[in-house]
Symmetry: D2
Subunit: 380 residues, 4 copies
Amino acid sequence: MLTDLLRATRAHTLALAAPLSDEDAQLQSMPDASPAKWHLAHTTWFFETMVLTPYLRGYCVFDERWPRLFNSYYESLGPRHARPQRGLLSRPSLTEVKAYRAHVDAALADLLPHAPAESRTLIELGCHHEQQHQELLLTDILHAFSCNPLLPAYDAAPPPKAAAPEQAWLKHPGGIVSIGHDGNGFAFDNEGPRHQALLAPFEISNRLVTCGEYADFIDAGGYREPLLWLSDGWAAVQAQGWQRPAYWLEDGRVFGLHGVQPLDADAPVMQLSFYEACAYAEWAGARLPTEFEWEAACGLPAFAQAADQAWQWTRSSYAPYPGFKPAAGAVGEYNGKFMVGQQVLRGGSLATPPGHARPTYRNFFPPAARWQFSGVRLAR
Amino acid sequence: MLTDLLRATRAHTLALAAPLSDEDAQLQSMPDASPAKWHLAHTTWFFETMVLTPYLRGYCVFDERWPRLFNSYYESLGPRHARPQRGLLSRPSLTEVKAYRAHVDAALADLLPHAPAESRTLIELGCHHEQQHQELLLTDILHAFSCNPLLPAYDAAPPPKAAAPEQAWLKHPGGIVSIGHDGNGFAFDNEGPRHQALLAPFEISNRLVTCGEYADFIDAGGYREPLLWLSDGWAAVQAQGWQRPAYWLEDGRVFGLHGVQPLDADAPVMQLSFYEACAYAEWAGARLPTEFEWEAACGLPAFAQAADQAWQWTRSSYAPYPGFKPAAGAVGEYNGKFMVGQQVLRGGSLATPPGHARPTYRNFFPPAARWQFSGVRLAR
Amino acid sequence: MLTDLLRATRAHTLALAAPLSDEDAQLQSMPDASPAKWHLAHTTWFFETMVLTPYLRGYCVFDERWPRLFNSYYESLGPRHARPQRGLLSRPSLTEVKAYRAHVDAALADLLPHAPAESRTLIELGCHHEQQHQELLLTDILHAFSCNPLLPAYDAAPPPKAAAPEQAWLKHPGGIVSIGHDGNGFAFDNEGPRHQALLAPFEISNRLVTCGEYADFIDAGGYREPLLWLSDGWAAVQAQGWQRPAYWLEDGRVFGLHGVQPLDADAPVMQLSFYEACAYAEWAGARLPTEFEWEAACGLPAFAQAADQAWQWTRSSYAPYPGFKPAAGAVGEYNGKFMVGQQVLRGGSLATPPGHARPTYRNFFPPAARWQFSGVRLAR
Amino acid sequence: MLTDLLRATRAHTLALAAPLSDEDAQLQSMPDASPAKWHLAHTTWFFETMVLTPYLRGYCVFDERWPRLFNSYYESLGPRHARPQRGLLSRPSLTEVKAYRAHVDAALADLLPHAPAESRTLIELGCHHEQQHQELLLTDILHAFSCNPLLPAYDAAPPPKAAAPEQAWLKHPGGIVSIGHDGNGFAFDNEGPRHQALLAPFEISNRLVTCGEYADFIDAGGYREPLLWLSDGWAAVQAQGWQRPAYWLEDGRVFGLHGVQPLDADAPVMQLSFYEACAYAEWAGARLPTEFEWEAACGLPAFAQAADQAWQWTRSSYAPYPGFKPAAGAVGEYNGKFMVGQQVLRGGSLATPPGHARPTYRNFFPPAARWQFSGVRLAR
């Protein structure tokens, strides 16, 4: 089953990159985003470094100059190529990176039949890690394409038509709830330890805010009224000249994976920053849920669009759960060191690989980030 | 009694500014800090705008060009002089600002005998607001003096000698605790609503980390070991070249309100950023308390240095309590709009005016801020 | 006579600073400008360092911590307080700086009667150096006042009314001309060596461009037409949002030493960058003169407004004359090291102290500078 | 003959791009540099826009969305894709750009037999324009490769071995010399009008400064001695951490078109900024020639390495010659608008296409630029 997960994950990444030319795969449109080629290589480096080198006897690093190029942020694993310069790596070529993938896949296949338990844990982590990069590959290439005046489509097929359920408020009684992962099946370290939290009664929307609803906010002058915004948010509006979500065009159309399309009023609004999510909620007379409210409510029967449309900004900043301890070794840098200055998003998006997300899953981005499939679910 | 509070508060601000020359009172050493003269004027503007104009019949604004200069961040009260340019206001002079203070004080004295209840609430708020600026006046002038190679002393008297209690861990059983202000007496809106929270059992230190202990962290290479730091913290260490707390000099001495002094190993370490506080805690095998743990524990019998030495960074980001609603009107901008991207500090400092802080008090600063009297109390 | 020059120069600086409060004298509104107090101290430091310490036996430096504060840019004289932080020096106070001036003046008086020849040369240089700072003191305080929404007047007296002569083109036959200072009387090192240059015949305007003429350029869309501008100039227009000269207000009035005044159509336009000067000339079907043309023409009988209104941007970049050698010692850093990236201005301004400028005088500023009394004389 | 020039020029560009992968051709390593693919397309756009659209009846623009992408800086030709984002154009692909080239080449072949005289002038300009981009294509890809830790070689062949002639000073008597192009054959507008200049007698080196000589400067502490540097140069040294020429590695080897090679002491030093050139000259007791001296001397019999090794920084800033008028129309933006803030380089380099340079040729770059084949010839 781990074999299946590994094979499927590795194949899916390649499939996602298939529509991209060598040139597309090279694009880095901002320091926060990475080239598709880099995602292909970095996820491979992860297996090579965390699994093959320590656990496969006789394994030779594919190219000893590459770990420096494809280490993302692991201080314990030595110096790294500067993040904003990932787009300057025309060499190795996409072809060479694919050969790297094949080399590592073969070595993993060698290892798997007699892989010790710790290595199996790391392989599983590597798969989930790669799934995270599958979504980033899509969000990053979409951002890069959005910088090209030709606005190329990642996928030339027409987009699915959205159908928004009627909005309704779901009631939750509050009280003591269990939060975090229970240890059955895979979870990232930041989802635990499972613990109890006390919630006041609250209501949460059954669905995400739609593009039509968000357009009303814009039409009502939402981007011109400072009192709706957090102070940092209003500063961002002014400094960046925000007037609408990141991929809404001036002409009323919307850019996305399927290229430029008419605005679909029923589709969930996406590519919003936390600041915009909060301002919208303020304007709508509501608020964002905390991540604990979200987790407690997501099992309610009418809770729609939980994980298949857009990640949902919460009012919770990303912080360690009580008793959190990062894993030992390099993988301990995976999550814990980012626990400041970011907001938690819950759910999952249309770009999240199937099977990747969980109710306890904690995604996180800085409050100004607006190139993700990030939307709003209201609470009150 | 409100009369007494007002008179004492207004007088104390002037007393704090007394050691400063006209030139000193003009200094703005960074965008986040303000000149002492500006603090004197802004706190006066607050009373004029929030209290006198709406509630004192026939009150004339002292100078109609000034509100634009001394409005800090109230969007609902019109355009403002840019914050980073406060140090460029040589006019009005310090003398004129003092005349402004006298004018407003006299008008408040006229109003007080027959002030309606809402205005009394606002006068009380104005006093606590001014007390906050009293501390800022000190931290800001200290930062400005730290930029002068002559390192002038705000107060030429020798500093008090610290006496650190023996370190001990205080146990708290956890459970459901009440958090936030109960409404008896003054509190800022961000201290409420009072609500219940659920805590796991924890231990908290009876005192703050000392300079001697922090020096050990430095000597052990704390500023050179990335694995001790949050990712943003390590980026700050490298970008800013941090090697020690903000006012520790290369020669081992420490700059402060009393000028340059030998390091006092027993004194609490101060002028730390949140990042440094976290890195120290990590090195010490402990962590920072949450703001809820701090509030629950601060009444424990042996809990020393609660509010008289340094504010204590907590692991809690600054966010609204459940059910929080900002006040109506301009004062609604007082607190709520800053509730993202900042960490809560609890306690109080040697620069906090007596009577200002409370166990429920929530101070907040960005995680990189290191010009406040901010220190560390460990938990585990 | 050197005694007279010294006494008059030193007194004039104090007279220029007399209208300024201690707070005014502290203002630094941008890195390129310096506080008036700093000008008072730096010019004094120049005499102390260049003259008294080497030539007055037994002279004691006034305060040994100060040279670091008041050295402007002399690398050979040790480390300096960072230029952008000059406005943070509330200490020493203006009073102390005046005492410093008195101390140095007294020492210079002691030295003068038996000053060796080299020291007399340096005293003369110090006087001319101080005269340069007299003009900067005015341009810098004017910039600082322009940043204060109250727009205070340096001089409350009404401004002199301008009278523009009728515009006329003066013909110069070109040919071989002598350029540079002939060594009779004082000149800065950058004015020599005197040498010959070959000019083509040219015409030059008898007077400066007026505010009225410049207003026509603005009305004709001059700030919106990229083809009129040098590439760097157009980039500055867009990046800085330039729409008119630096001190022209949106309401049509003009800020200056006499505060806010109606635009005087006959007065020379000032506070222009080189870019604006070039764009205006292009629009007017003319060009800027070279510094050699200017020097050759300035003696023509009808050549008006040579040195009493505004410095005149030339098309010449600031470069060494053939055979130029900086002086030996620290004063060798006075001029030569700035000979790149700046344009030469010729003439003099209403803020230039009487007797300071000469036909061979070479003023210089970066092309984007617009806080000087800098205007335009056309050539063709 | 124009046909031959066009065919050869167009073919040579493709030949230069031949060693580059699609990914290499996409690289933009800094705002001042452009991707190879962009050079291929922009030079083609130049012919399409300046020649085909106005002069070939019935010509259809290859893709009407492309002119916006490949216009470099012509304000008169409409809005442009932002220069720093040229590296984000993965579409059109390199293949499509080559098809664009073929389409335009075919149309030019159609036009040539009956091309009117003005169009022939523009075709000739287009060829010389493309030759300029041939050199930029090489310098830009070399810079991009220098940002890749793998330091790929553009050309795997070994570099030619340099042979430095014995250094000697060539005497020039000065006097009135003719400067600028005489109109026989092609020249850029900035090379005229031809005019007379007056030179003092001078000496100029017979050859360029070698790597060995420059290494002596470094060993003597040249990068640590502020008094050798122009003020802006020393600021650059400190801000950028310069310690050696741009492509000299820490280990003593040198990166170039042939990859990493041992330092060749006899080879001319290259990839120097103007600041470094000046500092070296100062250290060597010499100076840089003016562009007029260079032009007057370059015909002296022993004048070696005139145009085949490295461009030679001159002490002349880039300014219009007396009587200079840009051409009418869009091509008038070609040169004139850059005539401020740059230094003239004379000669030519190993990357300059054969036949491109002339003794009157004026190359120009900002003084901090160090990614060109730019070196030093001394004068005195």
